[in-house]
Amino acid sequence: MTNRLSLSAILLFLFFSASSAQHNVRTERISGSAGDVLEDNPVGKLKVYVYELPSKYNKKLLQKDPRCLTHMFAAEIFMHRFLLSSPVRTLNPDEADWFCSPIYPTCDLTPTGLPLPFKSPRMMRSAIQLISSNWPYWNKTEGADHFFVVPHDFGACFHYQEEKAIERGILPLLKRATLVQTFGQRNHVCLDQGSITIPPFAPPQKMHAHLIPPDVPRSIFVYFRGLFYDVNNDPEGGYYARGARAAVWENFKNNPLFDISTDHPTTYYEDMQRSIFCLCPLGWAPWSPRLVEAVVFGCIPVIIADDIVLPFADAIPWEEIGVFVAEKDVPELDTILTSIPTEVILRKQRLLANPSMKQAMLFPQPAQPGDAFHQILNGLARKLPHDGSVYLKAGEKVLNWTAGPVGDLKPW
């Protein structure tokens, strides 16, 4: 009697576990080095105070050029807007944990739409001078509990050319603040230790408008669309993308498994959804919106950028989701990709299918739980409480207000 009872209990348990396992086969939970934090709710964990800066730092720039809302650097504008109506915002600066300064330094666009960073350091400097003179909170910590969104190519180094950016280094006044930036490369001057890396802005409605049913079979092995040689700025090759993109082209242009080319078809998003691997090589900067697109469309990203730091690296275990290929191994890319075991590929696809993963890469309007805005707040919350040493005694000064190239010291 007891035998039969235990047997039936075992069978019941197996049945339930099997059925529940079947349910979960589609996706897998994602937990990075900081734990299972993708779905955390930041409300209640931190308070953010948003400075009221004159509109010449934000609204006027946007009015002059509304293209700032759609290019890949639009995160700074949308973060400001999100914070204005978010429950973490507090109107009492004394109880705030973090301070947000709404400045749009990348909103100075050329006629073709590329941002010019030449005036950005001066704009930042003048804004910080304003903040430090009108409110006492900057001087308390010299900016250690302030954060700035700097989504430009090399973050707060404010230049698009890597050598010049390295020369400049991070703006001296921002040395103690937390930077929220898209650029991330290990052991690089322009990535501070405590920075939060975020994905570049990609328009979510545009991507969701091109979704195809998930049962359309994935028939492209490797997919890439973009430049291999930047003939305007680097005609000889070897400079752009450290020669990695050119190497991809030269080695695999004859390979039918690689659907790579420079033309931009109208079915670009649909084709990504029909591919297993999407290449995300570096360009002039190591990050690109291709990563966001690959994650949203369930295509395993193949990241070819040495030492890159990917968005929300502590919340998302990128090694388990993407494939990292060193730039020196690019000629062996086909061997590398075909030698990945099938189970690993299926697991990566399951992780990518997790909706919280896709949500974490997007900046939807209006904000939705689990999206990139919330991940930024979660990241800021994880840095709390502030270490006691950041609070300076009255009159103590750490930052050098006259450091940096002479051109930066001019008022804006």
Binding site: V189, G237, G243, A246, A247, L257, D306, I340
Partner: protein, 472 residues
């Protein structure tokens, strides 16, 4: 000289600042007016390097200087086996000195190209296996949950166009990713012709003969085909086959999406059939199309905006009123019947003798029909008590999943049995460029009549003689 020096200076300029530190001092500077021996020597070296570079295809001079003057060994990219040295090699710029030491250097890098940049066949095979596995996983996750077998019922008979039609159906069924049972009912008894197709298909098949011969008028043919389909359904009942019954007429063309869509049927479903009523006469077709502008050549369910079945779309036979074919080989357009069988699919459990638990009440009891006591008049809808309950497939008939076409040869057309030519052909026509010497370059117009009308004209006789020769 001027040209050469200009070339040299432009060459230096292109390399830019990177090369200045490694340049031997004798390379910089500009134009030396008098040809001193050292300058001639360097000029000769330069020309030699240029020639070698031309042959080899990369900047040889760079390589030489690099090996001579470079100090850092890390620039040699002889990494893993199979990657040879670079074709475009330039010395690296050192990054600006910072406190952090980064592995990644800014500046010009070589473009690594392996010696044989072509796909490895074993890797291609592996990639295809990966693709297949991923697609299988996709199908299991997002496709049909528990796929049911497809039971295809095909009435057929031996005639010239049977090979064409049956091959099409056979190939479509062979591609179906589910289990298939193919029931072939043959009018006039089983023959080897049909058996060869059925055997080639490598599917589970049931091949039965039907005692009547196929009549020659379309009207009668439709009636006999209905009876043959009922015979097929009888077989489903006897063998207790489990699956979805599809009426795959041998001259129809089925899309693969049809078989995926019918997996959604519960008991009795209807889908849209594209009707290609074509007489083969181009002028007639264009005039008919002009008349038929408003109507669409579709037969299938029609829904209102809320998706409820409200009626049936039938093919408009009005424009063809005077010109329809009566006999199977008439040159006029062939009309479909009011409701083609191929537009309906049913769950085989409806046909079983034993009562199935949740058999719907809106389907008639088919036992009477299958036992031969009833005659089926208007097509498969008469099997249903309440036609409005029929399930619609293909987003309520908006997707046309198969096409109806009736093409047959003349009644007296003969074809080689099994389509194997055993006896020599009666008529041979030499091709335009034939290796045999005694045929003219012009293609002679040879018809059956020419064989009998021998000495009609001079020309003709020549040809006829030739024909006779070839015959012998």
């Amino acid at each position: 000289m001027k040209l050469l020096s200009a070339f040299r200076s432009s060459y230096l300029n292109r390399r830019g600042t990177t090369f200045r530190s490694l340049d031997p001092s004798s390379f910089d500077g500009g134009f030396i007016p008098k040809p001193s021996p050292s300058s001639i020597f360097w000029l000769a070296i330069h020309c030699l390097c240029c020639l070698i570079s031309l042959i080899l295809g990369f900047r040889f001079s760079h390589l030489v200087l690099f090996f001579l003057f470079s100090t850092s060994v890390t620039n040699l990219y002889t990494t893993t086996a199979g990657v040879s040295q670079l074709l475009k090699l330039k010395p690296l710029e050192k990054a600006n000195v910072t406190a952090k030491s980064s592995r990644v250097v800014v500046g010009r890098h070589g473009i690594r190209i392996r010696p044989w940049p072509h796909p490895n066949p074993i890797e291609v095979m592996r990639a295809h296996q990966l693709l297949e596995r991923v697609q299988k996983e996709q199908k299991s996750l997002y496709g049909v949950r528990s796929p049911r077998a497809v039971i295809a019922v095909t009435p057929t008979y031996v005639r010239t166009f049977q090979a064409l039609h049956l091959t099409g159906v056979m190939h479509s069924l062979m591609l179906v990713p589910y289990d298939v049972v193919w029931i072939v009912v043959e009018a006039g008894g089983k023959t080897n012709e049909t058996a060869s197709f059925v055997g080639k298909s490598r599917l589970k098949t049931v091949h039965v003969g039907f005692d009547q011969k196929m009549p020659n008028t379309w009207e009668d043919r439709r009636r006999v085909e209905s009876k043959m389909r009922i015979q097929g359904l009888r077989i489903v009942r006897e063998e207790k086959l489990d699956g979805i019954v599809v009426f795959a007429d041998d001259s129809n063309m089925h899309s693969m999406e049809l078989f995926d869509e019918i997996q959604n049927v519960r008991w009795f479903g209807a889908l849209s059939v594209g009707i290609l009523a074509h007489s083969g006469n181009a002028d007639e077709l264009s005039s008919v199309l002009k008349m038929n502008q408003e109507g669409k050549p579709i037969q299938g369910p029609s829904c209102d905006s809320s998706g409820k079945l409200v009626g049936w779309h039938v093919f408009n036979t009005q424009p063809y009123a005077t010109k329809t074919a009566v006999y199977v080989d008439d040159k006029a357009a062939v009309m479909p019947s009011k409701m083609e069988w191929s537009g309906f699919v049913l769950n085989s459990r409806l046909l079983w003798k034993e009562p199935v638990d949740d058999r719907p009440t809106w389907v008639k009891d088919v036992d009477n029909l299958l036992d031969g006591n009833e005659e089926i008049e208007d097509g498969p809808l008469s099997m249903v008590k309440d036609p409005s309950m029929v399930e619609t497939l293909g987003s309520c008939g908006r997707n046309v999943l198969l096409w109806w076409l009736r093409v047959e040869a003349r009644a007296d057309s003969k074809f080689p049995p099994g389509w194997i030519i055993k006896s020599p052909l009666e008529i041979t026509v030499p091709s335009k460029r034939t290796p045999w010497p005694d045929s003219s370059s012009k293609l002679p117009v040879v018809t059956k009549e020419a064989k009998y009308n021998q000495p009609a004209t001079e020309k003709r006789s020549g040809k006829a003689k030739r024909i006779k020769e070839q015959e012998q």
